[in-house]
């Protein structure tokens, strides 16, 4: 968790201290909680460093807004090329065709992870032909599924196996001219032999973070879910949507929805089941195929998506396994649900988001070369990353999520690295002998900044890379100005940092000077009202942690959910 970073890294070693960062979001679920847990400040206006926006905002506002260099936002401009059902299929088909044209047949054959799909009404004639052809060949038993474009959570989906049902649907459209424009559908060959567990159908939700399309940089989260339908699967009964659709939103309306466990397995439990049933090798292969499927679908849109250094995107992939363990891509969500229905779910999603924020690295403490950050593993940087041959894994997807231990480790090493860099800068500055002059300059800068509130103006003085000496100094001073209730906070951090202080030898005279500067600045800049406000924010943060205890157990022990449930009882 990011708290390890807060614990191990000294305040003055940050390029951009977390207490200076501001966020904006309209979400009030795990997203808000995760943002708050990082001790960032919530703002209403345009003065933000990170914004977790709804998709609509991107479409409506982003094109007319000029983003500051430091600002980050959670969607790419034309993400719909991947996340709208019809466009995704179009792009995948096109990419496959191009590969075939370039005679890369082997790679083209790998793009067989989506079912046969047509866009309606535009491809209606082709679909009808295909439907007839299949019925003549005796393949008509496999039903087709109609999905409205642009609707989510399973709304408007229906399954059919007679062409009449669809002609009826088409007729109603003809009568209603308005609807025809609004409602375009895709029709997809239904995967009729899905893998059933406990007689139930399920699909998987897996999270993939894209931080850049040029070079394609992807992080895959180790934990995901398997979401079960609540009724036994019956291939004959196609009218009962509960049997066929696994969306939580649909399942919730079903009577025997299980509130306690949310009708979900985490990916680790699913993997355990599959390994027990099918054996290690086959499951390892399946999970590797899933990882490659996800990378391939992003490669297919890599050249279409407008790359933007302000943007990152967390995708929720919906993947279905058939009886032979072949993964099928159902859809990609640009705004995977971050609402939780159980305490474990809540902690999982907050952890996931926390790791996303760590990777985005607004504090600018990471090197960018980390292969694992929290529960995320780097799976692609330009090209897909292959694990060493002697590794026991082919993918980390679905393996034990050791994010706590890993974050602790990475926070420690980062703290050491930052301390060393800081020390180097300090010694350099002493050697230059121009300390007094620089301090003067810094004071001037400080005065300038205190007049402007925008993060952009602050950012002007900060270089992304640590190592630019004068800017480093400026950061230290700026931190001082913004820190609330410094007395208590600093005491705590000092206590926590003790083990590291031995490792880092900062010259005592300099520390004294920095500290005295901070105190002065703090008193000067904070009005009593501001202090009070800061204090209440801090208090809120410490109390609003509804499921903290369970998560700690979970993270420390790496325990199974089953035990957690018991403890909760």
């Amino acid at each position: 968790m990011s708290e390890y970073f807060r614990k191990y890294i000294k305040k003055e070693h940050y390029s951009n201290h977390y207490s200076n960062l501001k966020f904006k979001t309209s979400f009030r679920n795990c997203i808000l909680e995760a943002l708050k847990r990082r001790q960032w400040k919530e703002v209403e206006g345009d003065d933000w460093d990170i914004m977790w926006a709804e998709k609509e905002w991107i479409h409506e506002v982003m094109d007319h807004t000029h983003l500051q260099p430091n600002q980050k936002i959670n969607h790419f401009r034309n993400h719909y090329e991947l996340t709208r059902k019809d466009l995704m299929i179009k792009n995948l088909k096109r990419f496959k065709r191009n590969l075939e044209r370039e005679n890369k047949m082997e790679e083209a054959n790998n793009y067989n992870f989506f079912p046969q799909t047509f866009h309606l009404p535009s491809e209606y004639p082709i679909f009808c032909e295909e439907f007839k052809r299949q019925s003549q060949n005796g393949e008509s038993k496999t039903p087709w599924i109609m999905k409205p474009i642009g609707k989510s959570q399973g709304k408007g989906i229906f399954i059919f196996n007679k062409i009449q049902s669809i002609s009826q649907w088409k007729n109603t459209l003809r009568f209603n001219q308005e609807a025809q424009q609004a409602e375009s559908y895709i029709v997809q060959k239904y995967i009729a032999d899905p893998l059933l567990i406990g007689g139930k159908k399920f699909d998987m939700r897996i999270y993939l973070l894209c931080t850049s399309y040029q070079p394609l940089t992807l992080y895959l989260y180790r934990t995901g879910f398997a979401r079960f339908t609540h009724h036994r699967y019956d291939n004959e009964d196609i009218s009962n949507t509960y049997v066929h659709l696994t969306n939580v939103a649909i399942q919730k309306t079903s009577d025997n929805y299980d509130e306690k466990l949310g009708g979900k397995w985490n990916l680790q439990t699913l993997k355990l089941f599959l390994m027990t049933k099918f054996g290690q090798e086959k499951v390892a292969e399946t999970f590797y195929n899933i990882q490659m499927l996800m990378i391939r679908s992003l490669q297919a849109v890599q050249k279409i998506i407008i790359n933007d250094k302000h943007c990152f995107e967390l995708y929720g992939f919906d993947i279905l396994l058939d009886a032979s363990l072949k993964p099928w891509l159902l859809e990609v969500n640009a705004s995977p649900s971050m609402t939780s229905n159980t305490p474990i779910d809540f902690e999982l999603k907050c952890g996931l988001l926390d790791d996303v924020f760590t990777i985005i690295d607004l504090e600018k403490v990471l090197t960018g070369n980390e292969e694992q950050i929290g529960g995320f593993d780097l799976v692609c940087k330009g090209n897909p990353i292959k694990l060493p041959l002697n590794s026991t894994f082919t993918t980390y997807l679905g393996s034990f999520n050791n994010r706590q231990q890993q974050l602790k480790k990475i926070a420690k090493s980062t703290a050491l690295r930052l301390a060393q860099t800081y020390q180097e800068i300090q010694t350099k500055s002493v050697g230059d002998g121009s300390k007094n002059q620089k301090e003067k300059e810094e004071k001037e800068k400080q005065q300038q900044r205190s007049t402007s509130k925008g993060p952009q103006s602050m950012q002007n003085g900060i270089n992304n890379k640590i190592g630019m000496q004068p800017k480093q100094n400026s950061i230290i001073k700026r931190n001082g100005t913004n820190l609330p209730a410094l007395g208590t906070l600093q005491y705590k951090t000092n206590v926590k940092r003790q083990p590291l202080q031995n490792a880092v030898q900062v010259q005592p005279a300099q520390i004294q000077q920095i500290n005295s500067n901070k105190k002065i600045n703090e008193e000067q800049t904070l009005t009593p009202n501001q202090k009070l406000q800061q204090l209440t924010i801090d208090n809120k943060l410490s109390t609003f942690q509804p499921y903290k205890q369970q998560s700690q157990y979970n993270d420390v022990m790496g325990m199974s959910n089953r035990n957690l449930q018991r403890n909760e009882e």
Binding site: L195, L196, I197, G198, G199, K200, F228, R232, D258, K260, L261, W265, T269, L272, F273, M275, T276, K277, F278, G279, Q280, E281, K282, Y553, M557, M559, S560, N561, R562, N563, L564, Q565, R566, N567, E569
Partner: protein, 466 residues
């Protein structure tokens, strides 16, 4: 023992793959000689070094042809009378439970989900009554006051021999891929019980377990028969029984277990079929309750011949990790229950019976960890009371499914439940330091309500730790 039917033996021989292999070899060896006597075969078998194989095959077929009869009477008379008493007691409990459900129907607000005919605590309490009975009849026990909860004169194996038998598990290591593949092939081609048991004793790769179990229970070529039988039973389930209600309530606990909630429906279906299955009476190795027809009672024993008890669902749950087909799950569960788990609910002096297992555990703990044994006694939480749940339910719910299935492997491998003794001893040893600090029964309860994760190999190691 039934008389052997030669025709049947021959049929079984022909069903076996080895038979054809050996026949082929013999045919080649004799080069189309017309008359072949038994002596010729013996000589030939010796010369090609297939004599052992031939003997194993024939003895295997003979063993299979013998029908193992259900144990109805025990050699110790008072256990027979106890079984009748136990059954009577259960009938009484059934009446109470029935009354409770009726009351619940009238008053919806008072829903007591803990309705069951008996649980492991009831069973232990009943076993405890034996001590007093026997000490009255056998006066030598009066003079020698034992600290043990159960001290009955039944023939027992020596504890040391059991410990020695399973000591090889300490040396078990994870196997390399090539060896796993070798074992996989072996399972695919092997038909002999002894060989399958050997594999089960050592290492069963994930994914191959189902086949091994099916082969061991001789179901490997009978899938359609299994499926048909199951379909018939499912049809019978349309007639509602009072026991169905109890089974549904029983499933609630499983529905709260992350590993098993997905299977709740399948488990319930299996159990509903199970209590209606007439073939269980013939196949079960030991009669659990003597089917006395009691007058003035509304209910009879279920067709299966015994009462469903609390947490019966637990026995089905791990098997759901073996197959996605419900009829296979049912067939495996039925066989496991009829061969092994039935002993965990039997009032008997058999080596596998709950009585014998409990006494072995007490014996080992009292001699190897006397301090712990005494301490538990003093604080009013006897060793057996502590371990009874894990013992009766084979650690299901305490370990992850793959570990439970490893226990199942061992049960098949040794055709015995003795592995549970080792695991229970290991379990107690693992928590020994904490248990020694406990001052009362509540403290002990607290230790076990804390988060814990037990693993098969770990408990085995603890069992041999001094």
């Amino acid at each position: 023992m039934q008389q052997l039917d030669n025709q049947e033996i021959l049929m079984k021989l022909k069903a076996s793959k080895q038979f054809w292999d050996i026949k082929k070899k013999i045919k080649q060896g004799f080069n189309e000689q017309l008359k072949i006597g038994v002596n010729d075969i013996q000589k030939f078998a010796q010369s090609c070094e297939i004599e052992d194989q031939l003997i194993k095959l024939i003895s295997h077929i003979l063993k299979k042809s013998k029908k193992r009869e259900t144990l109805k009477e025990d050699q110790i008379e008072f256990l027979n009378t106890s079984k009748i008493k136990w059954t009577e007691l259960l009938f009484k409990n059934l009446d109470i439970v029935h009354q409770k459900t009726k009351n619940q129907e009238e008053d919806d607000t008072n829903t007591d989900s803990k309705l069951y005919i008996y649980d492991e605590k009831n069973l232990l309490a009943f076993l405890q009554t034996f001590k007093q009975q026997q000490s009255n009849s056998l006066y030598q026990n009066v003079q020698f006051q034992s600290n043990k909860l159960l001290n009955i004169n039944i023939p027992l194996k020596s504890s040391q021999s059991i410990l020695d038998k399973y000591q090889y598990l300490l040396l078990q290591e994870e196997l390399q891929d090539d060896k796993i593949n070798k074992i996989r092939k072996q399972i695919e081609n092997e038909h002999l019980d002894i060989e399958l048991e050997k594999i089960a004793q050592n290492f069963v790769p994930n994914g191959e377990r189902c086949l091994l179990y099916l082969k061991y229970f001789e179901f490997d070529h009978q899938e359609t028969v299994i499926q048909q039988n199951f379909a018939k039973l499912q049809k019978e389930c349309s007639n509602q029984l009072f026991y169905d209600e109890l089974l549904e309530i029983d499933g609630h606990e499983i529905s709260e277990d992350t590993f098993y909630f997905v299977f709740q429906e399948q488990i319930l279906t299996c159990l509903k079929c199970f209590i209606r299955d007439k073939t269980i009476k013939e196949n079960i190795r030991i009669q659990l309750q003597s089917g006395l027809k009691k007058e003035n009672t509304e209910f009879q024993l279920p067709v299966a011949g015994f009462f469903p008890f609390k947490n019966i669902s637990k026995y089905v749950a791990p098997i759901c990790y073996l197959s996605t087909k419900i009829h296979i799950i049912y067939a495996l569960f039925k066989e496991f229950f009829c061969r092994y788990f039935c002993f965990l609910h039997s009032i008997s002096s058999e080596n596998n019976s709950i009585l014998a297992l409990c006494m072995q555990i007490e014996e080992i703990v009292s001699t190897r960890s006397p301090k712990l044994f005494h301490h538990l006694k003093v604080i009013g939480s006897d060793t057996l009371k502590l371990i009874m749940h894990q013992l009766v339910y084979c650690f299901i719910g305490d370990m992850d499914p793959p570990h439970i299935l490893t226990i199942y492997d061992q049960i098949i491998g040794h055709d015995s439940l003795e592995i549970l003794i080792i695991l229970c001893v290991g379990f107690l040893n693992k928590y020994k330091p904490k248990l020694l600090l406990a001052k009362n029964y509540e403290n002990v309860q607290q230790i076990f309500s804390e988060l814990r994760e037990d693993k098969f190999q770990e408990l085995v190691q603890f069992a041999y730790k001094q």
